[in-house]
């Protein structure tokens, strides 16, 4: 028995070593850097500075931290809501077999395979206020008289980047939920029909409760990913205009790549990790309570 145990431990060792090398050590190191004055500009001046990086970020007079937090929350939850709802609808539509379903699903899932940065560049052109497709269509349809500055007007910029993100994330939910839907036993629907349940009742009483574990895990995963996904914003607006689309992840990139300030960049990373951990714990608690009540 003991030998067996040792064998299993040895077998997971390579993965554990890789994770340690590429995940745990960098995370621990960046937590350390978060408490240091650490700028690439002059590495001879690296020194511990306590919580200074955090206070500089939170009380930054130039980049309002609370606006960035609000932007982050809107970016995550609005994107997530529409990605999930539309992805779920798509999964329901794709559940029933029809001619050409394979090709159709292939095309639909294509977006998920693209790089976030490339998607950002494409959508940046679509939303271009001068030459963009969105404006062209709206102008031709007579809905607007003058082009809208989708990415240059703070009232539209966040909505525009969220639309691009929704488009990108729908296939993920569609793939995952479709797999879950296909595993719902048909007997349950038959039994529900005998009990007189209509399509809506079946959806809310049978389908959703059965696939609840998938819904919980996918929405949680997506939340983490969206929060850590600055690619689209970076390519479309780089946080502008005037900070209106800046989220924690883009600000972190700007601190590191533009300001060479690894200390403040790491501090932002630590804030992101902390917020995500708190969110995950609360979310899983609520979800498990719901599941037991179902």
């Amino acid at each position: 028995m003991k030998n067996e145990n040792l064998k299993y431990r040895l077998m997971i060792l390579p993965v554990f070593a890789l994770l340690t090398l590429f995940m745990y050590i960098p995370v621990v190191r960046s937590i350390g850097i978060a408490f240091q004055h650490y700028t690439m500009f002059d590495l001879s001046k690296v020194k511990y500075c306590g919580l200074e990086n955090f206070s500089k970020i939170i009380f930054d007079p130039d980049f309002n931290f609370f606006q960035i937090l609000l932007n982050t929350a809107l970016w995550i939850f609005v994107s997530l809501f529409f990605q999930f709802t539309l992805g779920f609808c798509l999964a329901l539509l794709l559940k029933k077999p029809f001619k050409g379903r394979g090709i159709y699903s292939g095309l639909v899932f294509y977006a998920w395979a693209l790089s976030g940065f490339a998607i950002g560049l494409v959508w940046a052109w679509m939303f271009n206020g001068q030459f963009g497709l969105a404006n062209d269509l709206l102008l031709r349809a007579g809905i607007i008289g003058l082009p809208i500055g989708f990415l240059s007007d703070p009232n539209f910029a966040l909505i525009s980047v969220i639309i691009a993100n929704v488009w990108y994330g729908i296939p993920f939910f569609a793939i995952m939920l479709l797999a879950a839907l296909q595993s719902v036993p048909t007997e349950l629907y038959e039994a529900a029909s005998i009990d007189g349940a209509g399509p809506v009742a079946k959806l809310f009483r049978v389908t959703i409760p059965t696939i609840m574990p998938t819904i919980v895990s996918t929405t949680l995963l997506r939340t983490l990913w969206i929060m850590n996904f600055p690619d689209i914003i970076y390519a479309m607006t780089n946080g502008g205009p005037a900070n209106s689309t800046n989220i924690l992840a883009t600000q972190m990139i700007n601190k590191i790549y533009k300001n060479y300030d690894y200390g403040q960049g790491s501090a932002l990373g630590v804030i992101i990790i902390a917020l995500l951990m708190i969110y995950a714990v609360i979310y899983l608690k609520i979800a498990s309570r719901k599941e037991t009540s179902v």
């Binding site: 500009f41 001068q130 500055g149 240059s152 205009p241 900070n243 300001n259």
Partner: protein, 418 residues
């Protein structure tokens, strides 16, 4: 048997060692940072020429994607990874010198024959940090005004603006928003200060050439009354002759607006020439010197990239020889013709018709009329410098959106540089 095997092994090892030493092969690792597929191809051609001339040298070119190149270079230098020749951008020199990553090239520069032909601006740039030549510039970017001759002719404009006031007036005059005709090809993001500040400061007569954000009497230049008045004019230029979307325009959108004819005035660097040539052709545009401000001057910053040797390289002599080849007047002119920016030798501007005629005359004028065109430096050595672009952009955008007054933004800028 065992003995025989040992002898054989020893012979092979010895033979290998001798052959390695005897061949005198040198492998130089060369990293570029301003990567583009077109330019990498030009570099490869130049390298092939060098390898042909020097059969004992192999150049191993590393070409990381443009966006990650500088970071990769920084990492490699700080970890002392194998590098013999590196391309260093102007903004990074101070950082690399601070971290003791660059070799002092003064002695080598003094004994280099072609070094005597370098332009004064090349030598000044080589000594950007600590007045010591840690780098040898490869080429320059200097702003000039690109003009769509065909579009302006339609609006009856045949003489091109020589002053900022004329430029603003022309831009506003031809703008007809309903017809989709605007004037100025605006830069709203991604280092927008490199254009906006040039325009804001051209009315100030006494800018310190060593630090564009200071006047010669030590005041913050952007807060000078003349600069504040120019700021208001700049906002007017934006409101009355630029599509609202211009706030979000980077390089690509700027060039696109120029090529499409939406905005027939564009302030850009010489590497835009190749791009516009390709998409438009020289019969539809020309380049003129940047208009001067009320001070009678235009302040031009000069961006550049350079070649340098990491302080820990094991092949410094071979690396220097390669740098002198890449930066010889012949090869340098070849690179600049293919790639677009301005060469570093005085003789190239005199002898090479490519640079002494046509659109490049605009830059030739800017470099020779020293009373009107003053070359200025950004405070690259300040530890506040890396954060400046993002801060500047955020407040400039706030002003253009009408969320902030020019005065309030200038106060923020002054605060930052305090």
């Amino acid at each position: 048997m065992k003995k025989a095997l040992i002898v054989l092994l020893a012979c092979v090892t010895l033979g290998f060692a001798v052959s390695c030493k005897g061949s005198g092969k040198v492998e130089l690792t060369f990293m570029e940072t301003m990567t583009s597929p077109e330019r990498t191809a030009v570099f490869k051609e130049m390298i092939a020429g060098y390898e042909k001339e020097n059969p004992n040298v192999t150049i191993n070119l590393i070409s990381p994607p443009y966006d990650q190149a500088e970071n990769k270079e920084t990492m490699m230098l700080n970890n002392k990874q194998t590098l013999d020749v590196i391309e260093v951008r102007d903004y990074s020199v101070k950082q690399f010198v601070n971290n003791k990553n660059l070799e002092n090239l003064e002695k080598r520069l003094a004994s280099w024959e072609d070094g005597k032909d370098l332009l004064p601006i090349t030598l000044a740039s080589a000594r950007t940090v600590d007045n010591t030549a840690y780098i040898i510039p490869e080429f320059f970017y200097i702003k000039a005004l690109f003009v769509r001759t065909d579009i302006l002719a339609k609006h009856g404009i045949k003489t091109y603006p020589a002053t900022m006031d004329e430029l603003i007036a022309d831009c506003i005059k031809i703008t007809n928003k309903k017809a989709g005709q605007y004037g100025f090809s605006f830069r709203g993001k991604s280092n927008e200060f490199k254009i906006s500040d040039l325009l804001l400061l051209s009315d100030v007569p006494n800018i310190d050439p060593e630090n564009v954000y200071k006047t010669t009497d030590g005041k913050f230049s952007l807060a000078e009354p003349a600069a504040m008045a120019a700021f208001t004019q700049y906002v007017k230029l934006f409101k009355e002759s630029v599509p609202a979307d211009g706030i979000n325009w980077g390089f690509n959108e700027q060039v696109n607006a120029f090529v499409s004819g939406t905005c027939p005035f564009l302030v850009q660097d010489p590497d835009t020439v190749a791009l516009v040539d390709q998409q438009l052709g020289r019969d539809k545009y020309t380049v003129v010197p940047l208009p001067v401000g009320k001070s009678g001057k235009a302040y031009l910053d000069y961006g550049f990239a350079s070649l340098a040797i990491p302080s820990y390289s094991k092949n410094k002599d071979a690396a220097w020889k390669f740098i002198t080849y890449m930066n010889s007047p012949k090869e340098n002119s070849f690179l600049c013709q293919k790639y677009g920016p301005l060469p570093v030798h005085a003789s190239t501007f005199k002898d090479d018709t490519f640079f002494s005629t046509g659109v490049y005359q605009a830059w030739s004028t800017e470099m020779s009329k020293t009373d009107s065109y003053v070359f200025v430096k950004y405070p690259l050595a300040s530890d506040k410098w890396p954060g400046w672009a993002q801060l500047h952009e955020q407040y400039m955008q706030s002003v253009l959106l009408g969320k902030m007054t020019p005065e309030a933004a200038t106060a923020k800028y002054a605060d930052y540089w305090k």
